[in-house]
């Protein structure tokens, strides 16, 4: 299956720029380079952490932890895997550590999802999400989380963030064949769930209404 070109993917996957920023930070101690690197990948990182940690406070805590680990670990980054792959691995580990440290399992996240309609982490931005989009966002997330892990993360990172099967294999330590079969099954299930909810018409893009 060819790579889907997603909005912003070309910019985010500019590995040459990533490597240059890493080099400036590690070899020259350039703090600005570290901040630029973090800002480049912050939106992707935050979306992924929001999936793994529904509690906004926990997601914020995990974000801080990821950036601290990134600061410490960059000198050891050799560029053998793409920077995004490396970063998502950090995110995945940090989120798992946070959940484990609070003695909660993935079922807790699913239970927590039922309370999501009452949460609004960004009330200041409400005008940018009208009522219909907010409701669709909640239902979509609820359906995605019902897939369980690692299927939800695999599907999100593949279809929303544009990671390749090979990169997913590296992030989650799964064989590529396993990743493909899980992705196929997860897509099919998610489409079914969203169709049942009536919140997704897979034939149309949101801006094509």
């Amino acid at each position: 299956m060819p790579e889907a070109r997603l909005p912003g993917k070309a910019e985010e996957e500019d590995s040459g720029m990533d490597l240059e920023l890493v080099r400036r930070f590690v070899e020259e101690g350039d703090r600005q380079a570290f901040e630029a690197l973090a800002r480049r990948h912050l939106p992707s990182m935050r979306r992924f952490l929001a999936l793994s940690l529904p509690d906004p406070a926990e997601a914020g805590e995990a974000e801080q932890e990821v950036l601290v680990r990134m600061f410490r670990s960059l000198p050891a980054y050799r560029g053998e895997s793409g920077f995004r792959t490396w970063l998502f691995r950090l995110c995945s580990t940090a989120a798992a550590d946070l959940v484990r440290s609070r003695a909660r399992d993935r079922n807790r996240l699913r239970r927590y999802a039922n309370t999501l309609p009452d949460l609004d982490p960004r009330p200041e931005d409400e005008p940018s999400f009208d009522l219909e989009r907010r409701e669709r966002a909640r239902e979509t997330r609820k359906a995605l989380e019902s897939l369980g892990e690692p299927d939800a993360s695999l599907l999100f990172l593949r279809d929303a963030e544009g990671l390749s099967v090979e990169e997913l294999s590296s992030v989650f330590g799964l064989r590529e064949g396993t990743v493909k079969s899980r992705l196929s099954r997860a897509r099919s299930r998610l489409r079914g769930l969203l169709d049942e909810e009536g919140v997704c018409n897979p034939g149309r893009m949101p801006w094509e209404k």
């Binding site: 529904p54 601290v68 600061f71 982490p121 995605l144 279809d159 929303a160 034939g203």
Partner: protein, 172 residues
């Protein structure tokens, strides 16, 4: 086939856009606190001037090894000097086998040192008496062991032959 593939990719793209939009809504916004991140990472200690410098920096554990060896050596030498004068002489043991005089004082001041000396002597003859000169070759090992232990206790500055061994011709 080509059309089906394009249609399939398009469906993936729509699904991906929906997922992205959903998580975008729930994700945190705002600027990270880089100052606290740097502080938490222990930037002054952890941030290398260069990757090569970081790789050359020895670990703290490696630095502790010579320091610990120096402390052990200093303590050993100092203890050996203190223990030397406390070694028993033939005047310390009376005819009834009890200790008196300087040896008794030493044993009260340093019970552990006294115990080591006694153990060394016991290893020679099985009691507090010294081996006789005609004890034969079988005692050679015990004598050497006693010399070794006593020398170890007294430290490198001790004479090669302890005073009690020099008078081992007779029983005292």
């Amino acid at each position: 086939m080509g059309k089906m593939k394009r249609g399939y990719d398009r469906r993936d793209e729509v699904l991906g856009a929906r997922l992205r939009e959903s998580l975008e809504y729930f994700s945190k916004h705002g600027e990270p606190d880089f100052a606290s991140i740097e502080l938490a990472a222990g930037s002054l200690g952890a941030m290398p001037a260069s990757g090569r410098t970081a790789r050359r920096r020895p670990s703290r554990a490696l630095l502790l090894i010579p320091a610990a060896a120096a402390v052990v050596l200093a303590v050993g030498l100092g203890w050996g000097r203190l223990a030397g004068p406390r070694m028993a002489t033939k005047d310390d043991q009376g005819v009834d086998g009890t200790f008196s005089g300087a040896y008794l004082e030493a044993s009260q001041a340093d019970p552990l040192g006294t115990e080591v000396s006694l153990l060394a002597r016991e290893s020679v003859g099985g009691d507090l008496s010294l081996p006789s000169a005609d004890s034969g070759a079988s005692d050679t090992f015990h004598e050497e062991l006693a010399v070794f232990v006593t020398g170890l206790w007294k430290g490198p500055l001790a004479p090669a032959s302890p005073s009690w061994r020099e008078s081992s011709e007779g029983v005292f």
